[in-house]
C-alpha cells in the first residue's frame, strides 16, 4: 500500500467538509461578484469589474468601509486596554478567585452572540433599564439615545471580544519567568517601572496576537452591528447582507464580501509579519 495513502484517508473527512462548506461557496461568491444584476432581469452570467468599480467609486461605500475599520480599530484598542491588565491581575490572583474570575470572563462565550447583544438592547434601549433608572432618579428627562449609535456597537463588541484578548495575553503571561519581576525590583525598579519596562514588553506579543483576533472578528462582525447599529448605521458585513436579501443584488453583495475578505487578509497578514519581525530576535 502507498505510504502516503493513510494520511490522506485520515484527512479525507475534514478535507471534504472544508471543500464543500468553505471552498465551493467562496469560489461561487467570487465568480458571482463579477456577474451583473438587472432589477428586472435578475443576475446575468456576464463577467466584468463593474461591481468592484461601483464599490470603489461610490462614497456611500467609502463611508461604510471607513466606519467598519474605525469601529474595528476602536474595539481592538479598547480590548487591549481592558484585556491586558485584566489578564495580568488574573495571573496574580489566588487560585480560587482566579477560577471564579476566569469563569466570569469566559462565561459569556458560552452564550450566543445574538442573545448577548439583545441583552445590551434591553439595557440601553429608549425604554431600557439604564434610561428608566436615569429618568427615575431624575438625572435626565428624555431618554438618552444609545441604541443605533456607533458607541453602543463598540461597547457591545468589546464585551463580546474581550475574552479573546484576555486568553491571548494570559497565554503569554504563563510563559513569563516569575523571577523576572523580582529581578527588576531587586535592581531598584518601582512596581510601575517593572510593569512598564519588564512585564509589558514581554506580553506585547500576546497583546498583538489578541489584537489580531479581535480586529478580524470586529471587521467581519455581523450580529452585533445589525442589532445595535440598526438599518442606518451600516458596516460592511450588514451591507453585504442587505445587498443580498433586500436589494437582491447578489453580485454587488458578493463583491463587497470579497473586498472585505481581501482587506482583512491583507491587514492580518501584514500585521502578523510586523509582529513576527519585531519580536523574532527575542522570543522563540
Amino acid at each position: 500500500m502507498n505510504r502516503l495513502l493513510p494520511p490522506y484517508l485520515l484527512n479525507g473527512p475534514a478535507l471534504i467538509i472544508f471543500v464543500v462548506m468553505l471552498v465551493v461557496p467562496m469560489v461561487m461568491t467570487f465568480i458571482l461578484s463579477f456577474n451583473s444584476f438587472d432589477f428586472y432581469g435578475g443576475i446575468k452570467p456576464d463577467y466584468g469589474w463593474h461591481n468592484y468599480l461601483e464599490v470603489v467609486q461610490d462614497s456611500y461605500f467609502h463611508e461604510i468601509f471607513l466606519r467598519t475599520y474605525g469601529i474595528a480599530i476602536a474595539v481592538t484598542f479598547l480590548c487591549a486596554l481592558i484585556g491586558a491588565p485584566e489578564a495580568y491581575i488574573l495571573s496574580r490572583m489566588s487560585k480560587t478567585w482566579r477560577s471564579l474570575c476566569l469563569l466570569a470572563i469566559l462565561g459569556p462565550l458560552l452564550i450566543s452572540v445574538i442573545v448577548r447583544t439583545l441583552g445590551w438592547a434591553l439595557l440601553i434601549g429608549n425604554n431600557g433599564v439604564v434610561n428608566e433608572i436615569l429618568i427615575g432618579i431624575g438625572i435626565i428627562e428624555t431618554p438618552l439615545k444609545m441604541m443605533f449609535t456607533t458607541g453602543s456597537v463598540i461597547v457591545a463588541l468589546v464585551h463580546v471580544l474581550v475574552p479573546f484578548m484576555v486568553l491571548s495575553v494570559w497565554t503569554t503571561l504563563q510563559k513569563l519567568d516569575p523571577q523576572v519581576e523580582n529581578a527588576a525590583l531587586s535592581l531598584g525598579a518601582s512596581h510601575f517601572t517593572t510593569l512598564r519596562r519588564v512585564v509589558l514588553p514581554q506580553v506585547m506579543p500576546g497583546v498583538l496576537a489578541g489584537s489580531l483576533i479581535v480586529f478580524a472578528l470586529t471587521a467581519s462582525a455581523f450580529a452585533t452591528p445589525s442589532i445595535l447599529g440598526g438599518r442606518r448605521l451600516k458596516v460592511v458585513a450588514t451591507t453585504a447582507y442587505d445587498e443580498y436579501l433586500n436589494t437582491l443584488n447578489w453580485p454587488l453583495g458578493a463583491s463587497i464580501a470579497v473586498i472585505l475578505l481581501i482587506a482583512n487578509v491583507v491587514v492580518v497578514m501584514s500585521y502578523n509579519r510586523y509582529v513576527e519581525k519585531k519580536y523574532a530576535a527575542v522570543f522563540d
Partner: protein, 363 residues
Amino acid sequence: MPPFFLKLNLVNQMSFLSLKNISKRFGDFVAVEDFNLEVDKGEFISLLGPSGCGKTTTLNMIAGFEEPTTGAIQIDGRDMTHVSPNARDIGIVFQSYALFPHMTVAENVGFGLEMRKVGKQERRERVMETLELVGLTEFAERVPKALSGGQRQRVALARAIVIRPQLLLLDEPLSALDAKIRESMQVELRNIQRTVGITTILVTHDQAEAMAMSDRIAVMNMGRMARLGEPFEIYEKPGDSFTSNFLGSTNIFDGEVQDELEGQVLVNCSDIGLHIPGSAAKGARVSVAIRPEKVGLVQAGKGIFNAKVRTRIFLGTCWAYQVESDLGSFNVTLQNTGHSVAGEGETVGVTWHDDAVRILAER
C-alpha cells in the same frame, strides 16, 4: 550621640548582616523556624540543605520578597525587616537567571544603574567594566536568547554586581549548568567575589559547591539551622547525623557506651568494641559515624575486624567499596595508587584511626 569614631567602632563590632530569630509560616506550614545568622562584611556564606529545608525562603526574606512572620533582619546596622525589595540595595542572581529577554546584554546589565539614575556616559563605562570582569565584552549587544547557559549566568552576575550592592545573594546560581562549566564557574565566581569584596550569601543543595566556595556554611534542615561553621570544621565535626550525611557520605552504626575514660569512650557496636574520642554517659545509645575515605582495608585478621567485599567500583581517582561485616554493610573509598586492591568476594581486614570516628548527637 556618641562621637563619630565611637559610633564607627560600634558599627565595626557588629556583623554586617544579621538575621535575628526569624521565622516564616505559610498558613500551618513552618518554612523557617527561629533562624539566627550573623554575617561579617566581605564574608561568603552558604545556606546548604535539601529542597524544602527553608533556605530559599530565608533568601527571599533577606531579599525582601517575603516578610518574616517574626524576627528581624539588619543590614549594616539598619533594620530592613519591612523595607521593600527595591529599596534594599541587594544584588541577586536567580536560579533561572531571570534576565530580561527583550533587552540586550548591555541593557540588562545597565538596568540597575538606570534605575539609580546613573548618567548615560558613566553607565556605559560601568557596564563595560563589569562585562569585562565576567569576560563578556564582545556579547554586549546580543540578546539573552543568543547566549549559552554559562554566558547567561555571567550576565546575571554582572547585572547583580554592577550596582555595587551592599549584599549579593546567589540562589542556586550554578544548578542549571553542566558539571564541567559548573566547576570552572565556582572558581570564577569565588574570584570575582574576592575581587569585588562583596558580602555574599549562596543558597545551594550541592555540598561540594558550598564547600568549594564558602568561608562558612550554614546547614539547614526542616527550617532550622543544623550546623554553622567553616567547611573543614563542619565536615570533620558534623555534630549530628543529618549534617554528617548531607556533607559527603557517612557510615553510621548504632552502639552502646560501655565505659568512659579521659576524653574517650568505649562503644560496643554489634559486639565490636570501638574507642572513640568524645564523651557520653555510660549505657547511652549513640550513633557512631565514620567517613568512607577514612577507612582502610588490610589483610584479613590484621584490622579491627574482618569484612567481606560485596561490590567494588573503579572511579578513576579512587575505588568505591561496599563491604559486609558484623557492623552491617558500609562504604569504603580508597585512593587509587596504581596498585591492585582486594577484589569482590574476598575477605579483608578493616582499619581506621580512632580519632576518625565520631559520636553523633541524637536528633
